[in-house]
Symmetry: C2
Subunit: 254 residues, 2 copies
Amino acid sequence: MSRTLEYTVSHSLTAAQCNAQRELAPAQLVQQLIEAATCHADSLDFGFRRLQSLGILWVLSRISFKMDRYPQVFETYSITTWVESFNRHFSERNYMISGADGQPIGYAHTVWMAIDLRSRRPADLSVLGDLNRLICDRPCPVGKGALIRRPENPDRVNPYTFQVSDIDCNRHVNSARYVELVINQMELAIFDRNLLHHFEIAYKHEARFGDSVTVESQTEGETVTTAIMAGDTPACLARYTLTPRTPEPCGSCL
Amino acid sequence: MSRTLEYTVSHSLTAAQCNAQRELAPAQLVQQLIEAATCHADSLDFGFRRLQSLGILWVLSRISFKMDRYPQVFETYSITTWVESFNRHFSERNYMISGADGQPIGYAHTVWMAIDLRSRRPADLSVLGDLNRLICDRPCPVGKGALIRRPENPDRVNPYTFQVSDIDCNRHVNSARYVELVINQMELAIFDRNLLHHFEIAYKHEARFGDSVTVESQTEGETVTTAIMAGDTPACLARYTLTPRTPEPCGSCL
């Protein structure tokens, strides 16, 4: 396994994998960002396996990505990732997504928190020694972003109960599933006409199988804010911008 | 691209991909069976791309799989597929799933129907010439199976409306999503204690974004039958058997 400060993985988008717009679905992108991080961290020996042996777990705290376009059906695209920073409890990680021609089509930024497997409280990464040698100073145009607030006047409110297929290997709701739940508050035609240009999600509290939540969404201009609320506690807070597709809606390819 | 009668693809199950039992999720298996078929058919020039140029589409009509166990987290497993038969409208395709040690852990059988892209009626595959040269006589212990009937006395009935994330590149509900919808009728603990050993699903009528369905399930001994009904029309009919996990429930690994 290579031990380099940047890690690149290639994917090819099959017809069976793509969404209704014949593109990589945003939740699938999130899944692949998580996987790229996992593989890279494992290759540098600070991944899930090593941390598990120390009773520590990496938990995704925040994702922000900006896409000028999404990979299209049959396109071979790549994801490159590198670590921006470490501190005692957190690590920031960046990504570049490139199209078939090698040109960047988007960037992403993630924040990961180390927690104690048993207590679920923040863990101390200093047991891993000096991690600063793993930092790469390559710049990324997408950063952590501003605080996301619960919508004050939601225009859509829907209930949801987490199901078998939503649960991940840690018995919590899968990070990518929250992204689907956020997006599923909208009509399909919205995504035919608009590109999900900038998407941010902050994971606040872990939800489990059978938990019932209320999904509150509010649209203001091009920006939609969605809160997944377990009672008065946010499980997730998300914010995204929709920009009209040019030159014409994706529906024309159908 | 190789042009052989058998096609094998390897996968490695990452922590981010696996389900609550730390195994390959059945819906993800179905997705990978579809992808393997797509890649193999493309390599032999009777896949989606060639058929699309003729105004024809492959539609999955039925899947049946039997798994002695599922691939586990971090396991590298492989899927081998081959064509069992062709006739004017249908093709049958088989699969073997092998674990990290190369030994078979399960088999699958699928039925694909060719339909006209515009009329959505059965298409004539004879325009592709003699396809019998693509048949492989390798045996498969899983076959098409018996008719699946709508439950007469369902013990669980739940409504569902198809969402943005359920829709595939043909603007219909994704085949793997139906599998999740079937499985989501059960409690998570059922799958901790039992292996989804044999699973069969027949795709009857295409559903679209916003369609509302009723999901009816009936358990008889180890067998569960589930119908996804759009009014009185079945969208899907599924049947599966749950066998107790031995030596102990999967929950112990958590």
